[in-house]
Amino acid sequence: MTFAAAHADTGDTAWMLAATALVLLMTPGLALFYGGMVRTKSVLNMLMMSFVSIALVTVVWLAVGYSLAFGGDSAAGLIGGLDHAGMSGLGPDSVQGTVPTLLFATFQLTFAIITAALISGAVADRVKFGAWLVFVPVWALLVYVPVAHWVWGPGGWILDRLGALDFAGGLPVEIASGASGLALCLVIGPRLGFKKDAMRPHNLPMVMLGAGLLWFGWFGFNAGSALGANGLAAAAFLNTLAAGCTGLLGWLFVEQKRDGHPTTLGAASGAVAGLVAITPSCGSVSLLGALVVGLAAGVVCSYAVSWKFRLNYDDSLDVVGVHLVGGIIGTLLIGLFAEKAMTGGAEGLLYGGGVTQLGKQLVAIVAVATYAFGVTYGIGKLLDKTLGLRAGEEQEHTGLDLTVHAETAYDHGVLGHGAPVAHSLVPTAQKVDTQA
């Protein structure tokens, strides 16, 4: 991956600086998207799980994560080396491709951040905050970093050796977070009242705002993965828009037919499902392919989100139904829709490439999903045995906002949905006379 240019290209560097900031914005966007979907009593905790991921993943990434993911391969395409631990040997003059290496490393960091944050949706309302603070850096190192190396690292076995394609992170981001979310929600168990109590999204405008920010940031995610300001970036950009649109329409179509009403949550979820699916494929399919990929994800994911009720796993905010399923759809469909004009070589089944590419995609999906699920399950069990993974029953009933963070998001009436009746508590830090 290091074909050294003497100097960074200014145009490419300018675009990648902007793209990196766009991707970082996706994590606060995700926080709002998730935050609006939980009940009022744990919305702040939901936001916090994403925000602390920014800080935690950044620290481990700069310490060893970047080097292990993108440093020179040290074991058959499975993991990188420690040559750039602590970002050593990298300065303003270091160049990766046509952009400064420090920028490339930061761009990749923003992917690791949102992937860790995505998992929080599977365990909403009930995870012990201290355990989450340990889980995130451990997970980033043991799951994200190796998978990122397999896919994008120099000599990584999935892209460089097997020849499977993943342009912007269907495998390390979407499938890894989805499979990990499934594992973690199985370890922690369902929310109190799962399938009994109404657990309605408390703020749908917040969900829509979050979805909008995600979509905006996704242009940096996908078009930025071209690692330059060029035609491939433009094609990925347009594919990203197209798939988000057909995902939105597909989900709403199913809702209208099945439930009788097109919903705002459905529109937001459908757009995200389409964006998830086009993530791996945006750099390898034509515009027609992108429209199909988005539509397929919108339709299939709108059904996949209800599997949890039948199979009894409380993936609270549908990380499995949207990210795992959407990620698999997008990664798999590369095997059908890959076009030479985009990939520079590989072709899908529908463009005369036979089933070879489809097979490679399938192998990559199974490997990443199995690895992420297994390792995350292990981390979860270990944390559960040591620190304890799950918040106490009373904390969960009252809500994590008040019991963990000593805050409440809203000043609401006693009939608010799931609102803790706690405003008569006297603050201990500074006594405030509310009668004044």
């Binding site: 109404a198 309605r200 999204p201 009403h261 709108s302 059904y303 209800s306 009436g413 009939l415």
Partner: protein, 112 residues
């Protein structure tokens, strides 16, 4: 004296208020309430999961009047709140032993 309590649909509140003002009722108290009767609740669907919402938003109107005026007040509330559809609400009256106006200490009907 009688305490008349009416549980009605929130959007009928203005009509009820106007009707009571026309009858010369000088004051009333309104609270937001939740409940269900024969209307039961409604269904909401989020990502395909159906939730039954049993408690429907209502307003509770309370007014204390002299015995002689009670029937007229009840009729006025019913007329103003009625839409003919299920979920219109209920009105009831109970005897009130005493009423005191806090500002002056007046008691009984004078305090109304």
């Amino acid at each position: 004296m009688k305490l008349i309590t009416a549980i009605v649909k929130p959007y009928r509140l203005d009509e009820v208020k106007t009707a009571l003002q026309e009858l010369g009722v000088h004051g009333l108290t309104v609270t937001e309430a939740s409940g269900y009767g024969r209307q039961r609740g409604h269904t909401e669907v989020y990502r395909g999961a159906e939730y039954r919402v049993d408690l429907v938003p209502k307003v509770r109107i309370e007014v204390v009047v002299e015995d002689a005026a009670a029937e007229d007040v009840i009729d006025a509330i019913v007329k103003a709140a009625q839409t003919g559809k299920i979920g219109d609400g209920k009105v009831w009256a109970v005897p009130v032993e005493t009423v005191v106006r806090v500002r002056t200490g007046e008691r009984g009907p004078d305090a109304l």
